[in-house]
């Protein structure tokens, strides 16, 4: 296995793009990533596309081929990946493996989604699942994890709200973010309840957008006019669906993190900037704990004392996270890496995490039997 480097990275504004197609959004992100790499589209040897809902919402399959052809890429292997919220990051890992394994030297990864729903309608995926037929809704399962976390560790509603407050503050500084609006703890707590204890501003929005990155061999990276970043760990794993497990932590995430730290020969104390899957406020608190940024049960206090704010001990979601930047499902995992790259290259402007040398991106997708189907962790290092 050989080292894999990050080339250029690009993304669209996340938010509502009612008049733009998947291929249109994807093209913008891909073109930016390819141009920043200083390569031509025709140099790309394989393409990987993460998209979760195109077949359901747009009736579009083979999204990757459609997007890549927009910038003239053809005649190469293209793989479409669906892994729920981890679709983009799984596509990234597929590209990483192909370069690490020596199959290709230069690959392009895109994540793209249009998940903004028409007014008055709800996203209804997983309709075939028994839980959904019985009345389950997305925020409900996370509300249950929040209730258990509060019961077990004394985590408070205010601590949950502070995740949203912090991420919205960061989003104001991110030109790519869907929301650029500050909220107080009271405003988060007093917004309409979705599933107790989660309120409207405790939940990420549905969004449209795309993100893309180039991965390459070390030899090609040396020729690029970019600060060099190595992808030191790329891990994908699956839940164990253990019936009756404690739902205040995700075993799948702890395992993914352990494998990633081992692969990179690093520990949580080495990480300078983190992007996590904050689909709901409680998720970010649990991710702190599962990734080893603090001991189990301390996540609420970590955000409360400001440790995860920009300028704190370990900044988490400087992009604004899914809560503020938005969550175009298949794009989010790639966009996290775009954000980490900006920090490691010193290009994150107003939200720049000072001296960030090593970054970690975590995302997971697809609730199943109180567990999660897919979880990825990537670690990137400035070289």
């Amino acid at each position: 296995m050989r080292d894999v480097y990050l080339g250029g990275a690009g993304m669209t504004l996340f938010g509502k793009h009612p008049h733009r197609s998947l291929r249109d959004l994807g093209r913008e992100a891909c073109l930016e990533a390819v141009r920043e790499s200083g390569v031509r589209p025709g140099d790309i040897q394989a393409g990987y596309c993460g998209n979760a809902l195109g077949p359901v919402l747009q009736g579009e399959t083979g999204v990757g081929q459609n997007v890549f052809w927009e910038i003239g890429i053809h005649g190469i292997p293209v793989v479409n990946v669906e892994n729920a919220c981890a679709s983009g990051s799984t596509a990234l890992r597929e590209g990483w493996m192909a370069v690490a394994g020596g199959f290709y030297d230069l690959v392009l990864i895109v994540g793209v989604e249009k998940s903004v729903m028409p007014k008055g309608t709800m996203l209804n995926v997983g309709a075939a699942e028994l839980e959904t037929k019985l009345g389950d809704v997305f925020p409900g399962y996370f509300a249950l994890t929040a209730k258990k976390h509060m019961e077990k560790y004394g985590t408070t509603r205010e601590q949950l709200a502070r995740v949203s407050v912090k991420n919205h503050l960061n989003g104001i500084l991110n030109p790519y973010a869907q929301f650029k609006k500050e909220f107080t703890v009271e405003e988060v707590l007093n917004s309409p309840t979705i599933a107790d204890p989660l309120t409207l501003y405790s939940c990420c929005p549905n969004s449209d957008g795309a993100a893309a990155v180039v991965l390459c061999s070390e030899e090609i990276a040396r020729r690029m006019d970019l600060p060099r970043i190595r992808v030191s760990a790329s891990v994908l794993t699956t839940g164990d669906y253990e019936n009756g497990a404690d739902i205040t932590a995700w075993e799948v995430e702890k395992r993914a993190a352990r494998e990633a730290y081992e692969m990179a020969s690093l520990g949580p104390e080495d990480i300078g900037v983190v992007e996590v899957h904050d689909a709901f406020t409680i998720c970010e608190i649990i991710h702190y704990e599962d990734l080893g940024l603090c001991p189990p049960g301390e996540g609420g206090r970590l955000v409360e004392e400001g440790a995860t704010a920009i300028g704190g001990k370990i900044p988490v979601n400087p992009s604004g996270g899914l809560l503020s930047k938005g969550h175009p499902v298949g794009a989010s995992g790639v966009a996290q890496v775009v954000e980490i790259a900006m920090h490691l290259r010193g290009r994150a402007e107003k939200r720049q995490v000072e001296d960030a040398k090593i970054g970690l991106a975590q995302i997971m997708g697809g609730s199943k039997e109180g567990d999660t189907r897919a979880c990825t962790v990537h670690i990137l290092e400035r070289k």
Binding site: L130, T132, K133, L134, G135, P139, K147, I194, A195, D196
Partner: protein, 155 residues
């Protein structure tokens, strides 16, 4: 699959239809109590609901035995949902997980029979069959839910 009940007439005289086949005995045998239908692995003894074709640990073909789950459970976690579900359930409604100690199985389900805001972890509940909603044909769709145990009894 010998002991599954005869519910091939999924439209009963009341025009109710189960949310999914094979989850519970329906109609409930006269004089009997409703029960969730699970199964257990003949090799390791682990119990499952809904039924699995294979035990994920032993993966022993033909090794699964059908069981009826105990009706009594304990709330593990609960929440009140304030938005309508895409499945057509009107808000607010309570749901969560109930642990069935006799079978060592955790079951997801709606909570019923009390103020939705009154449910709490540790509360004892029993399984009941109740309409969830009406389907597009105007039939009542029946599902299982958990309601508070009204009288003291052994779990």
């Amino acid at each position: 699959m010998s002991n599954s009940s005869k519910n091939s007439s999924n439209n009963t005289d009341r025009g109710w239809t189960p949310v999914e086949e094979g989850l519970f005995e329906y109609p409930v045998p006269s004089g009997g109590q409703p029960a969730l239908l699970g199964n257990r692995c003949g090799s390791c003894g682990r119990r499952f609901f809904p039924r699995r074709a294979l035990c994920p640990t032993c993966v022993d073909e033909g090794g699964m035995e059908d069981i009826r789950l105990d009706r009594f459970g304990v709330v593990y976690a609960c929440t009140v949902v304030h938005i309508p579900s895409p499945a057509g359930i009107r808000a607010p409604y309570a749901y969560g997980y109930a642990d069935i100690p006799a079978d060592n199985v955790r079951v997801f389900g709606l909570f019923t029979g009390a103020d939705p805001f009154s449910f709490h972890a540790g509360q004892r509940v029993e399984m009941v069959l109740e309409p969830l909603k009406e389907n597009e044909k105007g039939q009542k769709v029946i599902g299982y839910k958990f309601k508070p145990v009204e009288e003291e009894r052994h779990i």
